[in-house]
């Protein structure tokens, strides 16, 4: 067991390292000289050189990368002297355009992205599992086919089209919801809820479609398993057969997959946040791309990769906990 965890941890670190490296290389190659941008107007070549030296941009690639990596674990300092900037660990970079450490910027916006993710997750889990169960139980009948049609539609509509359609319909045409506006929960809970409602729905629709199909397939397959037949042959009540022998094996994989999807979403739903003007990590990423704020882009990329990799590992661990075949191993 320990071996397994250590193995996975190692693999995780390797992947993260490679993501770091890859991102760094791409941005190193592609991005225009940040020193020029920071310098701003009225720049002199000497000033640019000075900035470059402060940021360590004149160092060879591997040194820069090394500095970045050590910064992740131990923090780093930009520049020297009285204007030196401290970036505490884990230092994902420093945004000169916003005069903030990227880690802080992310931390500020994480609650918002998390709210979006959690709300959507609750919706899509409930809708997905309920829809999938209903479809499986009524397999081949009208309810099943109707839900199948809904899921195909939900899967096909691009989320920005859905987002815009909802916004146009509910806000502009019907006026049922007000325009999204940043409001704290404590100040105006109703408005807060109204703000998040559409993003929740938009994100949930696509995922619910997938989860419905997944649940349906799992339940149908499980119902055909031999051990369900054995349970019925023992004369167990339908409720017991259903709960113990059908639901548990069918739904467990879904819970684990959910972990991964949720982790991915925590990194910010870029398009949805942008369309609805939600100030989360996703929108920050989109804005920073427009403004070419390279440290932020790097930081967000790393965060997203980290969340996915960790989510993956958590899922693997969950599997060992849930599935006795993996957990206990053969001892026959």
């Amino acid at each position: 067991m320990i071996r397994f965890v250590a193995d996975r941890l190692l693999g995780m670190l390797v992947v993260l390292f490679l993501v770091c490296l890859f991102t760094f290389v791409i941005f190193f190659v592609l991005s225009p000289d940040p020193a020029v941008q920071i310098c701003g107007k009225n720049c002199t070549p000497e000033a640019i050189d000075q900035i470059r030296a402060n940021l360590g941009l004149d160092q060879p690639f591997w040194t820069q990368f090394g500095t970045f990596l050590t910064g992740l674990f131990a923090g780093r300092t930009y520049g020297t002297g009285p204007n030196a900037i401290d970036c505490a660990a884990p230092c994902l970079g420093y945004s000169f355009q916003s005069s903030q450490a990227v880690t802080d910027m992310i931390a500020q916006r994480l609650p918002v992205s998390a709210t979006v993710a959690v709300g959507a997750a609750v919706l899509w889990l409930l809708a997905g599992v309920a829809g999938g169960l209903l479809s499986a139980v009524r397999e081949g009948r009208f309810a099943d086919r109707f839900i199948a049609g809904l899921t195909l539609t939900g899967m096909s509509i691009p989320n920005y089209v859905l987002a815009l359609s909802l916004q146009f319909l509910l806000v502009v045409t019907l006026g049922w919801l007000p325009f999204p506006q940043a409001v704290a929960f404590t100040d105006d809970p109703v408005r807060w809820f109204q703000n998040f409602l559409m993003p929740w729905i938009v994100l949930a629709v696509g995922m619910a479609a997938v989860y419905t199909r997944l649940t349906r397939a799992n339940v149908i397959e499980t119902l055909q398993e031999n051990y369900v037949r054995t349970a019925r042959a023992k004369g167990l009540s339908p409720g017991l057969v259903w709960r113990r022998h059908a639901l548990r094996p069918a739904l467990t994989p879904i819970v684990t997959i959910f972990g991964m999807d949720f982790a991915g979403l925590l990194g910010g739903a870029l398009i949805t946040e942008t369309v609805f003007g939600i100030n989360g990590i996703g929108k920050m990423a989109a804005d920073s791309i427009t403004k070419n704020d390279q440290p932020v882009i790097m930081g967000v990329t790393l965060l997203a990769a980290f969340l996915v990799v960790v989510g993956n590992m958590v899922v693997d661990l969950l599997y060992t906990a849930i599935d006795p075949r993996v957990r206990v191993g053969s001892s026959a």
Partner: protein, 326 residues
């Protein structure tokens, strides 16, 4: 954008065991499916046929774009200032965004470009990029999946790590960042490259899984015993049995790529204006929605219906092939 990793996996996976729903490779080494029977069943499925018809129409539209535009009278890049009202900020004259005998789908607010022409040429862009990306992804995915699954060992380890790495990547952010940093030349080509770069692992993973289980089958053992080389086994025995999986995954990949290209264009990093793209038109339509909803609804509907048709088609095909193989 339309697909998270889980979705493609769900729709096509077979190797994992916990995610059912894909066509399972048939039990023996006989020809993978009875194509004639499948074709007949396909033609009898009204929904599948309807989707195919719509897709073919869009493809024809894309291919015949120059001709259609000649018939309708306006090119996609032509400005027609007479069609918009300069006093009202450029709102199209006439109902529903200027629809009429002159401009069949109306005009764009502000610059008066013919929407029909832009939809038709936008179809070109969408289909070209999506199909190219699909072809490239399928090629890469099948090749890497076969190699990793069949040869195993270190080859498999390397390929699997690469796949894991690419799948862990926040592809969207990366694509946007890379594309926005690159110059505008060859943008469509770059789009195909970037999309395919992140797309092939999903197919490769499934191909790998199925190859791994197929290579344990008796007919592969038999082929080995009779002296077939690895490449002969891969191409003659294993590949045909993967045909139905590949077909399903390909059909389901296309709508994903259509959506991805449209999404990237929506965000402004896709096809470079003034080349039309449905995604970009949708983005431009946002400020005009209150007064000219047609400008949003038309490309939105075309995009949605195209993705929907491919998705439903893929679903039907998967079901047909699944039954055939059983």
């Amino acid at each position: 954008m339309s697909f998270t990793p889980t979705e493609l996996e769900v729709e096509g996976a077979a190797g994992g065991g916990t995610v059912p729903g894909a066509p399972v490779p048939p039990p023996a080494g006989r020809p993978a499916t009875e194509w004639r029977r499948v074709t007949r069943a396909f033609l009898g499925d009204r929904v599948a046929v309807a989707c195919s018809v719509y897709i073919v129409l869009i493809i024809l539209m894309a291919v015949a774009a120059p001709l259609l535009v000649k018939i309708s009278g306006y090119g996609p890049l032509e400005f027609d200032q007479d069609a918009v009202d300069p006093n009202l900020g450029g709102i199209p004259l006439g109902p529903a965004g200027g629809m009429g005998a002159d401009h069949w789908f109306g005009v764009e607010p502000g610059n008066g470009r013919d929407i029909f022409a832009r939809i038709v040429y936008g179809a070109r862009v969408s289909m070209l990029i999506a199909i190219s990306a699909t072809l490239l992804t399928t090629f890469l995915g099948v090749v890497f999946g076969l190699v990793a699954g069949y040869f195993g060992g270190r080859v498999d380890m390397v390929v699997s790590r690469v796949m894991e790495f690419l799948m862990a990547f926040p592809a969207l952010i990366f694509m946007i960042a890379v594309l926005s940093a690159l110059p505008a030349e060859n943008r469509q080509f770059l789009l195909v490259l970037v999309i395919s770069f992140f797309g092939w692992p999903y197919l490769a993973r499934i191909v790998r899984g199925q190859t791994m289980s197929l290579k344990e089958r008796e007919f592969v053992e038999a082929a080995k015993a009779s002296g077939a080389t690895s490449s002969q086994i891969i191409f003659k025995e294993i590949l045909p049995n993967l045909a139905s999986t590949i077909i399903v995954m390909t059909t389901l990949a296309v709508p994903g790529y259509v959506g991805t290209e449209a999404g990237l264009s929506f965000l402004g990093v896709g096809v470079v204006p003034p080349t039309p793209s449905w995604g970009q038109m949708i983005a431009s339509s946002v400020p005009w929605y209150a007064v000219d909803p047609a400008y949003f609804l038309i490309p939105g509907a075309f995009l949605f219906l195209l993705v929907l048709s491919f998705t439903v088609l893929g679903d039907r095909i998967r079901r047909l092939l699944g039954e055939g193989a059983a």
